[in-house]
């Protein structure tokens, strides 16, 4: 029943629209001969509107009606079903997520979880001025990030290229490389962090009982001794960057880097798979070496993936519960403890805002080098 009425309605509506469009079409051509833009617009619109109209007139009367309704309401129908598909998420965002986010921001300005309408900036004052630790920790975290993002992105790209090659045992290696994605999360990660922290407190016995630590593999002291004769320092204005120190930090954090690059590796792998093999073939025919092929083909084609991965890495590193800022903020306390939830909220939102700024900066920087293949 409802189906029928709907049909009629939409049919009426569409026929009205067609009628209106036609009258609209007829007028400007007659009136606005002087203006050049209007006729050109009309010309663009005309085929889309009048095409079904023309088709309508030819066949038997009841078939075209169906066709007409079908074609004209398609866009609207599609938009409606698009909304229907997204409905759960839209409801969730409006009903749950936004209230939670707003409440969380609000707490920072009220200073407490309760129903306290007084507006204060005490929490922000505390975060920026009274607590000297916060700013330094955040600055340190960002410094670390500047080293870690390229390390993770380059490492995962390199490993993805290797794991994309045909070789014996590829399945095994792939399985091992993606293992941390599944296993280094949540409670397992928390236990690892706790165990290694305990072991360090225990008396510097770095190599025992450390779940997540592999410092026993190569001690940073050995590395430093090995490289101490090489004076690798980069001077930028007043600051000197010790390259040896960067290398030793990276080597010591190798497990961290490897375990954080699983998803990135997957993304790069999918990107590599999507490059058409015919491009490589033609490269080979032209006599390009593997080195040239990498820089001229693989890298540009994979550059959108580099952008995605860099952003994902920033988010992943920043939002990890075991990073130093998060640990520090956990000290500000939750809502039901005796510590101040306002300070927690203020601190974490300042931090989140910084994360967003970093993401925008990374995106803008990488955008200049990203190459988008034109799709046809």
């Amino acid at each position: 029943m409802s189906f029928d009425t709907k049909n009629k309605r939409s049919f009426k509506a569409t026929s009205q629209i067609v009628g209106e469009e036609q009258s609209y079409l007829a007028e400007p051509i007659a009136l606005a001969g002087s203006e050049k833009i209007v006729p050109s617009e009309v010309v663009v619109e005309a085929p889309t509107v009048s095409a079904p109209e023309v088709a309508v007139n030819e066949p038997a009367p009841y078939i075209p009606r169906k066709k007409k309704k079908f074609k004209l309401s398609l866009t609207g129908k599609k938009a409606l079903s698009g909304w229907l598909f997204c409905l759960p998420f839209v409801i969730g965002i409006l009903g749950i997520y936004l209230p939670i986010v707003l409440k969380s921001i609000e707490v920072g300005f009220h200073g407490s979880m309760g129903n306290n309408p007084a507006f204060t900036l005490d929490a922000y004052k505390f975060v920026f001025i009274e607590d000297g630790q916060f700013t330094t920790t955040v600055v340190d975290a960002i410094k670390d990030l500047i080293i870690q993002i390229p390390a993770i992105v380059i490492f995962s790209l390199f490993m993805a290229i290797i794991l994309n090659q045909k070789m014996t045992g590829r399945t095994f290696f792939r399985a091992v490389f993606f293992l941390p994605v599944i296993l280094s999360t949540g409670i397992i990660d928390a236990i690892d962090t706790r165990i290694s922290a305990g072991a360090i407190v225990e008396g510097g016995a770095m190599d025992d009982n450390t779940g997540g630590e592999t410092a026993g593999l190569m001690s940073s002291l050995d590395m430093e001794m090995l490289l101490s004769s090489v004076n690798l320092r980069l001077t930028l204005g007043k600051t000197t960057i010790d390259l040896v120190e960067i290398v030793t930090t990276l080597v010591n954090n190798i497990f961290e880097i490897v375990s954080r690059s699983g998803v990135q590796m997957l993304i790069f792998l999918s990107g590599l798979q999507s490059i058409s093999p015919s491009i490589y073939e033609s490269c080979q025919m032209e006599g390009a070496t593997a080195w040239e092929t990498f820089w001229k083909i693989t890298l540009p084609m994979i550059s959108p993936m580099i952008l995605v991965n860099a952003i994902y890495t920033v988010v992943d590193l920043f939002t990890a519960a075991d990073n130093r800022v998060m640990q520090g903020l956990a000290g500000y306390g939750g809502m039901f403890g005796d510590k101040n939830p306002g300070n927690f909220s203020a601190g974490i939102w300042v931090y989140t805002a910084l994360v967003l700024v970093v993401i925008v900066v990374v995106a803008l920087l990488l955008r200049t080098v990203v190459f988008y293949q034109r799709r046809d």
Binding site: F89, L94, S104, M113, G212, F255, L266, L269, L307, M335
Partner: protein, 355 residues
């Protein structure tokens, strides 16, 4: 080299010529060429690298497994580093019995399985809507998807707890959910004491049903990229044949995206399995429910037993217990992963996450 003269380069001709050449010429050609050497050196280098990194990844697990079977005497013995001299399965026994591993296993399995199913389905729906339909606000919805991915979970910890605890107290928060619940309360009088979802699974499911669960933004993003790669002709032909959009989605799109859905399912399942964020904020009384995240404590008998040991031994033993717990937590995931890992790589490879 001289012996191999090829006039017409057919495959068979080359083969015949090659087979007629003396053995040493053949060997020389095969093994003394620059390309062969280069290849060998490259392959060896690659293998060493891969094995090295495999070791880095697996070392913590191996060391944890080896340490989990150590007894107290091994910890006192300075000569024991990884290989136990008096292996024992006591730690496993304590966690299985006293920490209630089996109970935690069953609850966590049921919760993770259902949550992963819901999340996969909802994320697929939303992703399909975002990928295949043009409508005003598409970009905004997608921006929100990315935003949920970018705002750290910890940020919303307090307010999320508050949201689900005092859900009917309109005066505190003006949120639509509490308005709806308040109306229901007025009509039916069910929630007289207010609805508080403490120590309840409902918030977890509510978040999943609305696509707001852990890293659901990532799932929606992945699935959206995948659906964008599905040719429109499929839906068009289904549409011409008179299939509704929903039916097209369930009977055409979902079956062809099974590898990708399995990938998402595995991620959702294992992240829910190891989750200690939501279980911590929604369950302040862990004794009411036991999850994987609650089984890593030191049992009372151990505390009693270790009372007279030195603090370093105590610490080492509790670390060993935690390590054992994490092995037991990871074991089901590893078993699942061994069977399904090919699917993960396949799924992501086919997704064509291209910008």
């Amino acid at each position: 080299m001289d012996t191999v003269k090829v006039k017409r380069e057919t495959k068979n001709k080359i083969k015949v010529d090659f087979e007629r050449a003396p053995l040493w010429v053949r060997l020389k050609q095969k093994f003394f060429s620059f390309n062969f050497l280069k290849n060998v050196v490259f392959k060896i280098f690659r293998l060493i690298l891969l094995i090295g990194i495999t070791f880095v990844i697996l070392y913590p697990y191996i060391s944890k497994i080896l340490k989990s079977i150590m007894s107290v005497s091994d910890m006192k013995d300075a000569t024991v580093v990884l290989i136990s001299k008096a292996p024992t399965l006591n730690q496993y026994w304590y966690i299985l019995t006293e920490n209630g591993y089996l109970k935690a296993f069953i609850t966590t399995f049921l919760v993770s399985f259902s949550i992963a199913l819901i999340q996969t389905l909802i994320c697929a729906l939303v992703a399909y809507g975002l990928a295949k339909f043009k409508f005003k606000g598409n970009a905004i919805v997608f921006a929100f998807v990315i935003a949920t991915l970018m705002i750290p979970q910890e940020t919303l910890k307090n307010s999320m707890t508050a949201f689900f605890r005092q859900i009917t107290m309109i005066e505190t928060t003006l949120n639509p959910v509490s308005l709806v619940l308040e109306l229901i309360q007025k009509w039916t009088g069910v929630f007289e004491n207010g609805v508080g979802f403490t120590n309840s699974l409902i918030p977890l499911y509510v978040l999943s049903v609305f696509g707001l669960g852990f890293k659901n933004g990532l799932f929606i993003f992945m699935l959206r990229q995948f659906f964008k790669g599905v040719p429109d002709e499929l839906e068009e032909s289904a549409f011409v044949d008179g299939s509704s959009t929903l039916r097209t989605f369930f009977s055409i799109i979902l079956p062809i995206s099974v590898p990708m859905l399995i990938t998402v399912f595995i991620f959702a399942f294992s992240w829910q399995w190891t989750d200690d964020f939501y279980t911590k904020i929604f369950f302040n009384d862990a004794s009411k429910f036991s999850f994987m995240s609650t089984i890593d404590g030191v049992p009372a008998t151990i505390r009693e037993m270790m009372k007279y040991e030195t603090s370093s031994i105590q610490q080492a033993y509790s670390a060993t217990l935690s390590g054992t717990a994490s092995i037991l937590i990871a074991l089901p995931l590893i078993i699942m992963y061994v069977f399904l890992q090919r699917r993960i790589v396949e799924g992501v490879e086919r997704s064509g996450i291209v910008g």
